[in-house]
C-alpha cells in the first residue's frame, strides 16, 4: 500500500520526505518493540526492589549496590579477568599466526588457515565444550593416554576455560589481523632497511604503530566475545568457576533469596555497562584503522 502511494508521489516529481521515512518505519518500530521494551524492562527492574512481606515494589539502587558487593563482585571481576586474559593471549597467538601466514609464499597455506579461522571463529557454544571435554576432560582421550588425571589436571578450571576460549578467539584475531598485516607495505620495510634499521626497530617504530588500531580493536572484540560467552562455560564448568554469565543464569532460574529476585537484572546492567565501556574504546579505533589500511 505505502509503496504504491509513495510511487505516485514520486512520479509527480520530487519524493517527499515522508516516503523515505515510511520504508524505514517497520524496522524502527520493530527495534523499539523487540529491543526497546526488554531494555526498558531490564533498566526498571534493576532498580526495583520488592518487599517480601508486603509484596509492594519500590525504586531503589539496592540491587545494583548488592551486585557490586561480595560474591557478586567477585564473579564480575573473575569474568573480566578471564576475558582480559583470553583477549591478550588470543591477540598474541592470532597475530603471530596471521603474520606467519601473510609472510608465507604458499598460497594454499594462506587459504587453508583463513578458511579454518573463519570456521573456528564461529565455532562456539556447547559443541566447543564437548570437543574439549572429549579431548582433555576427566575421561577425555588425551587425559587417559597421558594419565593427566593423576597429576592433578582438570579442564574444568579457570585456566581450562582460558584454553578453550582461545579456540575461537585466536582464529578471530587471525581474521582481524590478516588484512591489517597485508596493508603493511613492503616498501616501508625496505625503506627502513635501507636507512639501516634493524627488524626490531622496524616493528617498534613503523609496524606496531600502524597496526595498533587493528590490534586494539581485535583485543576489544575478543574481550567482548569471551565476556558474553555463556553456553561453553555452562556446559564445561557448571559453577566451579565463578562467572557473571553463570551467576545471572542461576539467579534467573530462581537460585536467589526471596526479595532479591532482581539481582539478575542488576548483574545484567553491570555487564552491559562494562561492555559499553569497552566498546567505546573500539568504535573510534575502528574508524582510525580503516583510514590507515586501504
Amino acid at each position: 500500500m505505502t509503496a504504491t502511494d509513495g510511487g505516485t508521489a514520486a512520479r509527480r516529481g520530487g519524493r517527499t520526505r515522508s516516503t523515505g521515512w515510511l520504508a524505514a518505519l517497520p524496522l524502527l518500530a520493530f527495534v523499539a518493540l523487540a529491543f526497546g521494551i526488554p531494555a526498558v524492562a531490564l533498566l526498571l527492574g534493576a532498580f526495583t526492589v520488592r518487599d517480601p512481606q508486603s509484596g509492594l515494589s519500590s525504586y531503589s539502587a539496592a540491587n545494583v549496590a548488592e551486585s557490586l558487593r561480595g560474591n557478586y563482585l567477585a564473579t564480575l571481576l573473575s569474568s573480566v579477568r578471564l576475558s582480559a586474559l583470553v583477549a591478550v593471549l588470543g591477540a598474541v597467538l592470532g597475530t603471530f599466526l596471521a603474520q606467519a601466514v601473510v609472510t608465507s609464499r604458499l598460497r594454499a597455506l594462506r587459504e587453508a588457515v583463513l578458511t579454518a579461522s573463519g570456521v573456528l571463529a564461529n565455532f562456539g557454544g556447547v559443541p566447543l565444550a564437548f570437543v574439549w571435554i572429549a579431548t582433555l576432560g576427566n575421561s577425555g582421550v588425551v587425559t587417559k593416554i597421558f594419565g593427566l588425571g593423576e597429576s592433578g589436571w582438570s579442564l574444568y578450571t579457570f585456566w581450562g576455560l582460558v584454553m578453550v576460549y582461545m579456540y575461537f578467539s585466536a582464529p578471530l584475531m587471525v581474521l582481524v589481523m590478516t588484512p591489517a598485516l597485508d596493508g603493511l607495505r613492503p616498501q616501508w620495510r625496505e625503506a627502513a632497511q635501507n636507512s639501516g634499521a634493524t627488524a626490531w626497530q622496524f616493528w617498534r617504530h613503523v609496524g606496531i604503530p600502524v597496526l595498533a588500531p587493528a590490534l586494539l580493536g581485535g583485543v576489544v572484540l575478543l574481550f567482548g566475545g569471551a565476556f558474553a560467552a555463556y553456553a561453553t562455560a555452562q556446559a564445561m564448568v557448571g559453577s566451579t568457576v565463578p562467572l557473571v554469565t553463570l551467576q545471572i543464569a542461576d539467579a534467573l532460574t530462581g537460585d536467589v533469596l526471596i526479595g532479591h529476585e532482581n539481582i539478575a537484572l542488576a548483574l545484567s546492567l553491570d555487564m552491559i555497562v562494562i561492555a559499553i565501556l569497552v566498546m567505546a574504546v573500539y568504535l573510534p579505533l575502528q574508524r582510525r584503522s580503516s583510514r590507515w589500511l586501504r
Binding site: V119, M271, I272
Partner: protein, 285 residues
C-alpha cells in the same frame, strides 16, 4: 587481492640482509606447528572419541544413532523453521530501510548504524534477562486485556515467535553489514530512477531491479542468519525452548559419544555454510 600480489615482492628484500630469512622461517615454523597442534588435536581426538569404544573397537554407531534419538527431528525442524522465519523477517525489515536511507532519508543513517551496532554490544544473556522480565511483567499487566492472548501465543512452545523476535535483533548487525556491502557497489539511485522513469512500480523496482543486483549480499546475510540461529543456545535455553542446540545439551547427559558426534557435525555444518558463503561471494566478482 592486490595485497596478495605484493607478498612475493618481499623476496628481494632478504637478499640485501642475509641472516634474516632463516630466522624468520624458524619462528614461522614454530608458530604454525604450535597452532596446528592446538587446533587439530582436539578435532582428531574428538573424532576418535566418537568412533572408538574400549573393548568394542571401531564403529560409526554414534553417528547412525543420531537419527533415531528422540527429539532430533522435532528440534532440528524447530530450529530450521525459526531460521527461515528470522531470515524472511530480517530481510523484509532491513532492505527497505536501507534503500530508504540511500534514496530519501539519509538523515536516518546514524540511527540505522546504531541499531546495527547495539546487539553486538549487549551480551545475549542480558538481552534474555530483559526479554524474560518484559514477558513476565507484560503477562501480569495485561492479564485483563485482549493483548494477553497475543502475549501467550508469542510464547507458544511449538513455534515460539518470541525467539524469532530475539534472533532478528541478534542478526541485525550481520544482515546490515552484508546488505550494506552489497548495496555499496551498485548505484541504487540511478537504478531506481531509471526503472521508475520507465514506469516500473515500486514492488517491481524492489523485486526485479534491486534484489537481483544484491543477490549475493542477500545470500550471505541469509547464511549468516542461518548459522547464528542453528547455533544459538543462550536465548533459547534460558527462555525454555527445545531448539536444536538445547536438545544437544539435553541428550548429552545420557550419551557422551552422541553429543561429541553432534558437535563434530555442527563444526562441519559451519564449514559447509562458510563454503557456500564464499562461493556466493566469488560468483559475483
Amino acid at each position: 587481492m592486490a595485497a596478495i600480489a605484493t607478498v612475493p615482492e618481499v623476496a628481494p628484500g632478504p637478499a640485501a640482509s642475509r641472516p634474516r630469512p632463516r630466522r624468520v622461517r624458524v619462528w614461522r615454523g614454530i608458530v604454525l606447528g604450535v597452532a596446528a597442534l592446538y587446533f587439530l588435536v582436539p578435532m582428531a581426538v574428538s573424532f576418535w572419541f566418537t568412533v572408538h569404544t574400549e573393548g568394542k573397537g571401531l564403529s560409526l554407531g554414534a553417528y547412525t544413532r543420531i537419527l533415531s534419538t528422540p527429539g532430533f527431528v522435532s528440534s532440528l525442524l524447530l530450529s530450521l523453521g525459526l531460521a527461515a522465519a528470522t531470515i524472511v523477517t530480517v530481510l523484509l525489515l532491513t532492505l527497505p530501510a536501507m534503500l530508504a536511507v540511500r534514496l530519501g532519508a539519509p538523515r536516518l543513517r546514524p540511527a540505522l548504524e546504531l541499531i546495527a551496532t547495539l546487539p553486538l554490544v549487549v551480551p545475549p544473556i542480558t538481552y534474555v534477562v530483559g526479554i524474560g522480565t518484559a514477558l513476565r511483567g507484560g503477562t501480569e499487566a495485561l492479564a485483563a486485556t485482549p493483548f494477553w492472548a497475543t502475549l501467550i501465543a508469542v510464547q507458544d512452545e511449538r513455534f515460539p515467535v518470541v525467539l524469532v523476535l530475539a534472533y532478528v535483533v541478534l542478526t541485525l548487525p550481520f544482515a546490515y553489514r552484508s546488505l550494506d556491502a552489497g548495496l555499496r557497489v551498485i548505484d541504487v539511485r540511478t537504478l531506481v530512477e531509471a526503472a521508475r522513469n520507465l514506469g516500473a512500480s515500486w514492488p517491481h523496482v524492489l523485486l526485479r531491479v534491486i534484489v537481483p543486483n544484491v543477490r549475493s549480499a542477500i545470500a550471505s546475510a541469509s547464511f549468516l542468519t542461518l548459522a547464528l540461529v542453528l547455533g544459538e543456545y543462550t536465548v533459547a535455553a534460558l527462555l525454555g525452548y527445545q531448539t536444536f542446540p538445547v536438545w544437544i545439551v539435553t541428550v548429552s547427559g545420557n550419551d557422551g559419544q552422541l553429543s561429541v558426534a553432534l558437535s563434530i557435525i555442527s563444526l562441519l555444518l559451519i564449514w559447509l555454510l562458510l563454503l557456500t558463503l564464499s562461493g556466493a561471494g566469488r560468483k559475483r566478482q
